[in-house]
């Protein structure tokens, strides 16, 4: 049984992420924000389901497709939005932008723009937890495309060899950019690649937030009990393009229509009575989520820009010279 409070939290987050991303898509069309935007419509259940199994001070890494992870991990909506708008009060002071939304104080080690950069960094955090006999959970999020990159494999091999109980979360959303996953995989199931490392792996429905939560929770316990890394593959569908502005020519309409039947938000709504939420409860949560998203965008709109010279700050912790101009 999941406690009522958690259920409410899950619903609130899943709607917040969807509304947030829909708003971003609209704003991208109006060309109101600078730079690249990678939205995560279709990933909400994975972001929220995994994070529901974590504490706020547990460690995660994310990617350029990070809005959902950041929202679910507890980053301030106002600060996320300000960052995407490039404002001084943004979560990274305007230095990162949409691709690098991350707040260390919320347990985010980083949102990396380089595919497969995250797993090894999380491995290091998990090693620290082991050496210091602390018990924080360490999770790395990455996509199906990332499993072809050497950095992922090197992290996986070391994690197994060192008995590190970290969790690899692979979001198998059907595409790596404009390349279909069923084309780029060499194995029948994506998670078969863990066989090379004799690593435990589980596959789950990434559209079902409660299934994601369940599998993740069990995996965390098992990993810690057995002192071993675990690889989780959650299958879902990338409704967004690779980035906003992608023509998505390669995603056939019939495929999108089929995927829509398993839209994570649709499933969450359908399941709501099963989890003790009546129509009014649901409506209330939806309205709250909408309102918070609206407020965040209003907030960001009024925020000051950074000063040009702010660019020179915080390159190092300690540097004997003034960064030259």
């Amino acid at each position: 049984m999941i406690e009522k409070e958690k259920i409410n939290w899950i619903y609130k987050k899943i709607f917040t992420i969807r509304f947030f991303e829909e708003r971003i898509k609209k704003i991208a069309k109006e060309k109101k924000v600078p730079g690249y935007l990678h939205t995560c419509i279709g990933s909400e259940a994975i972001c929220v389901g995994v994070m529901a199994a974590l504490n706020q001070d547990d460690w995660i890494s994310s990617t350029y497709r990070n809005h959902g992870h950041a929202i679910a991990k507890g980053c301030e909506l106002n600060e996320i939005t300000s960052e995407i708008y490039g404002r001084k009060t943004g979560i990274c002071k305007g230095r990162g932008g949409s691709m690098h939304i991350s707040d260390f104080s919320k347990g985010m080690l980083g949102s990396f723009g380089i595919v497969a950069a995250g797993p090894a960094v999380v491995l290091g955090a998990a090693l620290q937890e082991k050496i210091n006999k602390s018990n924080k959970t360490c999770v790395s999020f990455f996509g199906d495309g990332a499993i072809h990159n050497g950095a992922f494999h090197e992290a996986a091999g070391l994690a197994k060899l060192w008995d590190i109980p970290m969790i690899f979360v692979c979001e198998n959303n059907g595409y790596a950019e404009a390349t279909a996953t069923d084309w780029h995989l060499n194995t029948k199931e994506l998670s078969d690649i863990t066989k090379a490392y004799d690593m435990l792996s589980y596959i789950g429905d990434g559209n079902n937030v409660f299934e994601v939560y369940d599998i993740t929770k069990k995996a965390i316990n098992e990993a810690k009990q057995k002192n071993t890394p675990i690889f989780l593959e959650f299958k879902n569908y990338r409704f967004s393009g690779q980035y906003e502005g992608d023509t998505q020519l390669y995603q056939p309409q019939e495929e999108i229509d089929k995927a829509k039947q398993n839209d994570p938000i649709k499933l969450a709504k359908e399941n709501s009575s099963k989890y003790g939420l009546n129509k009014n409860d649901l409506e209330k949560i939806i309205n709250e989520a909408k309102e918070e998203v609206d407020k965040a965008f209003d907030f960001a709109d009024t925020q000051p820009w950074p000063q040009p010279e702010d660019a020179l700050e915080e390159v190092y912790v300690n540097y004997p010279l003034e960064i030259n101009r």
Binding site: R95, H100, E177, W183, Y250, W305
Partner: protein, 338 residues
């Protein structure tokens, strides 16, 4: 004569090279796009790379020669080296130069060294096409230039064209060249255009270009910085300061003679480079000039570069990061004491 964008000029050079030499192949991530969805109409060749530069090649030349890869840069860069040594002329696309890190070893230790280290018996005729540059609000990991990273390595050639004419002519040469060439395309220049003759001959690597003749100050401009140098020169002309703009175009080999001739003529030098300042093309060119043209100099060489920071995302900070027309004008005025 046709007006072409840099993007189309590069596509033209690729098509021409594919037609001229059946050993030319292309590998990279989504250089065609739509892999795995071929059964649906309109999915083939859906991308042509993130900027559409290679669009149409897959349709024209087929999947054997135009190969979409997984996100495995070390793998397909290494494959390009072996293929090049044994008879192909591979072109690989590094989607953004910022991803150099994940496959740098293949270029630095294999591509660059096999000829030398194994007694000069083999060659590696490959080209790395990659996208560089700030000004796209693309943040710290998608905006670097890293010219000097490759220029530093003996065995690699480095090319960075400014306009469509040079892009086509230099890419034709790079593909024909028997050494590994890093061909850097600036994302903010893709849609700029100029006249490009249909029968343009390959432009030899190692030959710079005087983009504007002048007598008072030499501005040595690296890739996109030519734009700002030209704007600055136009402004400065109004107050009777005559600027000469030198575009080296290739950085390894570097057309030192062309630079020195201009320095001899003007005695005043400004080097403009979008990269970080330390161990950069700007510092290299400046040191060469100080060494070889000391007696011709009327003042110390001035470098205008980005600061020693990563590329920031937010527009006011990124604009500050990138050298500007104003910074060039101010520097020239200071040099000329006006």
């Amino acid at each position: 004569m046709t007006i072409k964008t840099v993007k189309d000029a590069i596509n033209d050079a690729l098509v021409q090279s594919f037609e001229e030499d059946k050993n030319v192949i292309l590998m990279g991530e989504d250089i065609a796009g739509g892999k795995g969805r071929e059964q649906y109409q309109g999915t083939q060749d859906a991308w042509g790379g993130p900027f559409g530069v290679t669009q149409g090649l897959y349709t024209k030349f087929g999947g054997e020669r135009v190969r979409d890869t997984t996100i495995a840069e070390a793998g397909f860069f290494g494959a390009a080296i072996g293929a090049a040594m044994t008879g192909l002329r591979p072109i690989v696309e590094l989607m953004y130069v910022d991803f150099a890190g994940v496959c740098f070893d293949q270029m630095m230790n294999q591509a660059a060294k096999v000829r030398y280290m194994f007694g000069g018996k083999q060659k590696v005729p490959m080209v790395v096409r990659t996208v560089v540059g700030a000004g796209f609000r693309a943040g710290s990991e998608h905006s670097q230039t890293l010219y000097s990273l490759y220029t530093h390595i003996p065995g690699l050639k480095v090319v960075a064209p400014y306009d469509a004419y040079d892009a086509k002519g230099l890419l034709l040469s790079s593909i024909k060249d028997d050494d590994p060439v890093i061909f850097m395309e600036h994302k903010r220049l893709y849609m700029t255009s100029c006249e490009v003759p249909d029968d343009l001959k390959p432009i030899p690597l190692g030959k710079g270009r005087i983009r504007r003749e002048g007598s008072d100050v030499t501005i040595i401009a690296i890739q996109r910085m030519n734009l700002f140098a030209e704007e600055a020169a136009n402004e400065l002309e109004k107050i009777n300061i005559s600027c000469e703009i030198v575009d080296p175009r290739t950085y390894s080999p570097l057309d030192e003679e062309l630079i020195f001739q201009s320095v001899k003529k003007t005695g005043n030098v400004i080097v403009v480079d979008e990269s970080n300042p330390k161990c950069s093309l700007a510092s290299e060119i400046s040191s060469l000039i100080s060494e070889k043209c000391f007696s011709d100099l009327k003042a110390a060489v001035i470098k205008i570069t980005a600061p020693h920071t990563p590329v920031p995302f937010s527009p006011p900070m990124e604009d500050f990061y990138i050298p500007s027309t104003k910074k060039i004008i101010d520097a020239v005025k200071k040099l000329k004491d006006v």
